[in-house]
Symmetry: C2
Subunit: 900 residues, 2 copies
Amino acid sequence: MGRAKKTVKKTSKKAQLFYFFGDSKTEGNGQMKDLLGGKGANLAEMSRIGIPVPPGFTISTLVFRQFYENGMKLNREVDQQMENYLKKVEKSMKAGFGDPQNPLLVSVRSGAKFSMPGMMDTILNIGLNDKTVQGLIDKSKNSRFAYDCYRRLLQMFGNVVMGIDKALFEHIIQKKKDAKKIKLDTSLSIDDLKDMIEKFKKLIKEKAGEEFPQNPLKQLQLARDAVFRSWNSPRAITYRRQYRISSDLGTAVNIQAMVFGNLGDHSLTGVGFTRNPSTGEKHLYGEYLTNAQGEDVVAGIRTPKPIDELKKAMPEVYKQLLKVTEKLEKHYRDLQDFEFTVQERKLYMLQTRSGKRTAQAAVKIAVDMVKEKLISTEEALKRISPEQINQLLHPRIDPKAQLNVIAKGLPASPGAARGKVVFKSEDATRLSEAGEKVILVRQETNPDDIAGMIASQGILTARGGMTSHAAVVARGMGKPCIVGCESIRVNEEKKQFFVGGVMVRERENITLNGSTGEVILGTAPLIEPELSGEFAEFMRWSDKVRKLGVRANADTPADAMKAIKFGAEGIGLCRTEHMFFAKERLPIVQEMILARTREEREAILEDLLPFQKSDFKAIFEIMRGLPVTIRTLDPPLHEFLPKKEELLLEIATLKANPEETEKLKAKELLLQRVEELAEFNPMLGHRGCRLGITFPEITKMQAKAIFDAACEIARGGKPVIPEVMIPLVGKVEELKNQKEIVIKQAEESMKKYKVKIKYHVGTMIEVPRAALTADEIATEAEFFSFGTNDLTQMTFGFSRDDSGKFLNYYIEHGILPEDPFVSIDEKGVGQLIEMAFKKGRAMRKDLKVGICGEHGGDPDSIVFSHKVGLDYVSCSPYRVPVARLAAAQAVVGKGTTVTE
Amino acid sequence: MGRAKKTVKKTSKKAQLFYFFGDSKTEGNGQMKDLLGGKGANLAEMSRIGIPVPPGFTISTLVFRQFYENGMKLNREVDQQMENYLKKVEKSMKAGFGDPQNPLLVSVRSGAKFSMPGMMDTILNIGLNDKTVQGLIDKSKNSRFAYDCYRRLLQMFGNVVMGIDKALFEHIIQKKKDAKKIKLDTSLSIDDLKDMIEKFKKLIKEKAGEEFPQNPLKQLQLARDAVFRSWNSPRAITYRRQYRISSDLGTAVNIQAMVFGNLGDHSLTGVGFTRNPSTGEKHLYGEYLTNAQGEDVVAGIRTPKPIDELKKAMPEVYKQLLKVTEKLEKHYRDLQDFEFTVQERKLYMLQTRSGKRTAQAAVKIAVDMVKEKLISTEEALKRISPEQINQLLHPRIDPKAQLNVIAKGLPASPGAARGKVVFKSEDATRLSEAGEKVILVRQETNPDDIAGMIASQGILTARGGMTSHAAVVARGMGKPCIVGCESIRVNEEKKQFFVGGVMVRERENITLNGSTGEVILGTAPLIEPELSGEFAEFMRWSDKVRKLGVRANADTPADAMKAIKFGAEGIGLCRTEHMFFAKERLPIVQEMILARTREEREAILEDLLPFQKSDFKAIFEIMRGLPVTIRTLDPPLHEFLPKKEELLLEIATLKANPEETEKLKAKELLLQRVEELAEFNPMLGHRGCRLGITFPEITKMQAKAIFDAACEIARGGKPVIPEVMIPLVGKVEELKNQKEIVIKQAEESMKKYKVKIKYHVGTMIEVPRAALTADEIATEAEFFSFGTNDLTQMTFGFSRDDSGKFLNYYIEHGILPEDPFVSIDEKGVGQLIEMAFKKGRAMRKDLKVGICGEHGGDPDSIVFSHKVGLDYVSCSPYRVPVARLAAAQAVVGKGTTVTE
């Protein structure tokens, strides 16, 4: 833009009223958008570099200004100049404007500096009249086509220039069709068209009080003036107001020769891409139809031929097309999607623009273009959107497949999953163990469903938003997931769900498209992802550029493996509680919760210790000395116990059986504890460090597991960096309390194993108060990790699990621009993050600061994190490559990407 | 302090080693605490103004310094000076130190600049030996007393000076008592005492290796040195460290003549107050015992006589006492609680200090003293604590009554309540309608209990904290309430509760003391509060001084009446939902919630409109043009529906009855809606403006009720200022959305009634994000009202209803200094308040800002509000006078108050 402005200033001294384009005589260029408008500048640019576009000229915005200053008309001199320019077009096209034998037809199109699609008027086929229509018939050998062109001109001209209601023309057409009992315009006969032409002329005379001008020059002048006037049509004014486009800019008008691909066997029309938009392979790709117009290609009545065949059919034209499109690609430095017409062996490029492509093609093209020295690596990095990277990481449904889509929900975790429907976590586990692939379908999920989710290929829930339990856990696992699929009615008891008229029973096959939210009946064909050479190379460029570190949230050794595979530089969040839900551990955890004394609890925790320790050890080993941030127990204890309703049911059943008194007693005890632990707002309840403080023995056990594991690794001579993270701290005293326990345990372990290891103790910043008093907290914390999920919940006062009731409404009604659980709310939550970062760093210069909430994998939030100056983001393993690219784009900037 | 320091500097040039006090020769004064210590300075001050204190002298901290610098001993010259001072005492007392006929006895007491109660040593009866004890017998005609004094000297001296374990002395006493089979020391005979004296001497000789010094001077020197040394005893060092008292200060030592009220019929001892500490009436108040020592008065073995009788018995002494105590009161400008002894017709004041008093007396005394020109009104305002004011507003349990206290909980809402125990809200209503006074006892309360709470005299719950539902609602209603009374086990089904061994059944009488948290069995006698002339006058002074406005939180016309009665300057929070819970309205509200379409809902809201309107009208009328801030609907809708468990039970019952299918269907529908509306974290769910935005028809109805009511009042020529407050706003767009509805309705109502009224639209600031973006919000808000309950919940991430599980632990373990729901957490929540205030005012100069959370009635939080610069606080009507005083004290400062 800056460059554009300068150029305009330079050229403005010798600014012309008209600018020719086409052939070698092109007068403008791509920078002159102020004077030529966007479209005019582009046409000039293409012509300038030798692309054969149908010739024409642009009436500059200077003329527009004269028109308005001069009382909505132009001087004779200006008309004279225009006629001169028209002559250049006639010469170039070897046809005469108004010549009955060889008529030149032109289009008249508006073209303002900023695109205002559909807001202003266009008139095609200017130059046709009762006489020249015969010339067109002769040229095209197609009376139907020629009369239809004339009919269209009358209609457009009558409406745009002469101000006659569109509906009146449509009415005549409709009457004709009714009379002939036909439905499509294309079924109208030549006589019908001729009759309608007469009726249209009569209508114009009647309504406008004057005849349709047979003089082509008159047509052109009137059309031009009408386009100028349309700048101030109510809809154009409204549009400019909405998009804040200045009304002073005015519009240019483009007069361009019309070319026809249907003038016989030496004419044709086609569309193409400079490279394969699906695979990215470098070869001309597209199709064409001989003796046809553009719409015929699109309509699909005749089957077009692959562009390769043009090589044989018209080798020179093909050669020229190849040359021209290569030039286009070189000039625009991107894959081009172009339209062309060959009129009597002469090639005209009608349009070119950046072509849409698949994610896979996007990466290949970007990498290839760097190798071809067409673009820099920085430019390549801008070309791919992080979401495209995401697509590449998951198997996809074959885009060519015919699918039976039965419902659509929120695309919570991308990729495709296929399997048999199950409705209970136990069924998922059982069937999966029996070798079946299953899809877990539930009203909503909760921590009890973890095992079932692990056992499933994908998860579908009727309730919940993008950050509901199912969504978060599934993304963490890299499993496709669709949530909030409100149209399905799940009956977990009867093991079936309904949608529309369809009932899907247990063990029926469905496919989930986690990237689109589509639920597909049956087994859709999949395409495996290729993290090929180009992908790897592209990611290496990202890593070179980015300043932000990228870590993964990983709770298990399996997650850690994925983290390494996807290029994570450490673990930013290891949620120890997820280790508690495993089958053989949960009963011990429950026993621990039921313990009535500290001593009892300590004894049971001893049983849990080996499990945690072996997990940590495996994770440390996999991470090979990269930092591993382990969070101490976070969720409220009742999450580990059965639901009250379930217990009540079990108790009722047991009561009926007099032999089960022992079991009954146990269940009743459990129920009592469940009731004691029940909370009104568990999110704001007894969880996080509040647990570790009131039950110090839990923190102690966890610290022992961490440091015993780390010391065993270190004793084996391998590097290890544990970072212990205390959750939900709001006051420095909370951290101090927990840190003391951790340090004491670290010292003990190191003494026991006779090794020294480097370790850190830090805290989550997820309670607003922690951010507000980050300076105090930094006196104890060696690192901060923003828990942006909870921080967003508390800063907004939004319960993630409940906000579905109003959040969608808010976004739809513009109260919120987007879901703050997806992208960080910079003004509110972001303000707290910046504040905490500054206060923390002011207190402790080497404070390490990262983000480990869901936002750590969101591109916009990553850019924000970069801007604030954080050290790293941490996200689910599957988002690591996404984050690596987003972090690179935070440095080089985001480009416009054209996606499939 | 500043003044004291200056005086010390002035006098330090001529600082003496010793300072005499007593008679007219007093050398020190009350300011010289650095040199004389606190006690020494006070003794000097009393003497200086002519109060007859037993004469003596203070060994200054200069001597202390010499003692330490000189290797823990003093020069002979210093001893010589001390002897000279001792001579002055002998002269004053007309007795000789060591004189066998007329012995002078002295006490040796430490006295540091800052009081360190119990940390250092005291030795009484110095000067007694085998000979002088005979003189004391002659003087007192009481051998038992004299030997007991000697025995005590040996014991104290042996322990403090000669370092012998206290237990060894106690052991001898115990053996003696065991041998004689007696329990009390007082049962020991003279011979027993004499025997013990010998045994003590032997013990001293044995353990210390030297005899108890018979030389009184030696006793005195050794005792003095021991007191000096005790400055560095481990417990004193620990104490100083804890209270940050510098170890360099050192201590002075006070040597004071001992006087005896038991030297015959012309001797006596007594205690008294300069005014009646119970009523505040101005007359000498107290009692005395002839021929007795101080401990006899306290022991209660003989019945003391009222001080008035001294007038007849010893008119001169009485006259002197009157004069002396008047002088004391004038000098200390406060009610004095004094001890005195008359030794052979000579009056000695032993102690004087500000007297403890009831709240009622405190107000009367403060007001009287202003009238007597003893103190300024500012001083008077400092004298009463806001909590004392609180006590005055509620009937109190007669402090003289004998009570059967069966349990103690948290004093959630002050005052006394008596009535029959009920366990269900319905029972409360039914019995109350039948004319009974009832106390509602529940596990915990919820919004369903509102009717029952209204019908009750007081509320007792087993669960919940100071800001639980019961506590907040009860305080709002001004009803006594005890919560978190964990020792009672409530069985709501069986209608009984247990505590200790006691079972209390429905309809048994209990009394609640909401000021202390005591639960009393039976009907305790009450005292009605007197908001007398003095009280009113005192409150007027508060109003003159304070800068902060004080409004009331009032939901009903009855509340509004109370608000006016207690001096509120408007309503700061009118919670419209409380109007929804009334018996005839709740079914309509439920119907509205069950409505499936907007149209249906709108129709039902029409039925609710007249109720709301008539309430608002009544409130506006009562408030006579004072601003009334009405908050639109805030709680989640499920609060208006029955509990899930209850419904399940009802449905089970209905299912058994085939005739009830209609009812069953209705209940099942209700259950379905209850399940739909269920939320994981209702606190952060679909409530506040989120309701008003997704159901705009609710806001519309409420606005219509408000403005129709206001316009009807205005049309009647009366002033009215409605302020509509939108709750739970976190983003300015939310406020904008609701404001538009409100303004539109206001315009419509004004048009309909053809009147113009002044009104404002503003918002609660209770979501952290609102505080963070207060500048944006102030573009729409005309006022802010901090909802500090929710703001505290979200800033800390503490659910008020669940925090009991860890909050007490936190406070007990020093992780939190106090409950942030009681006093604003200035560092965190307060930071947000200040930030919001500054940002809001920067955007809108005339932004009105107040607090309407529970903190609005908390004195510390009121001082904070004043400091920040808020316009007003709003609290429950019963706290309005408390807030008025606290706001005044925010200006004049808080004094030390001596409460009952």
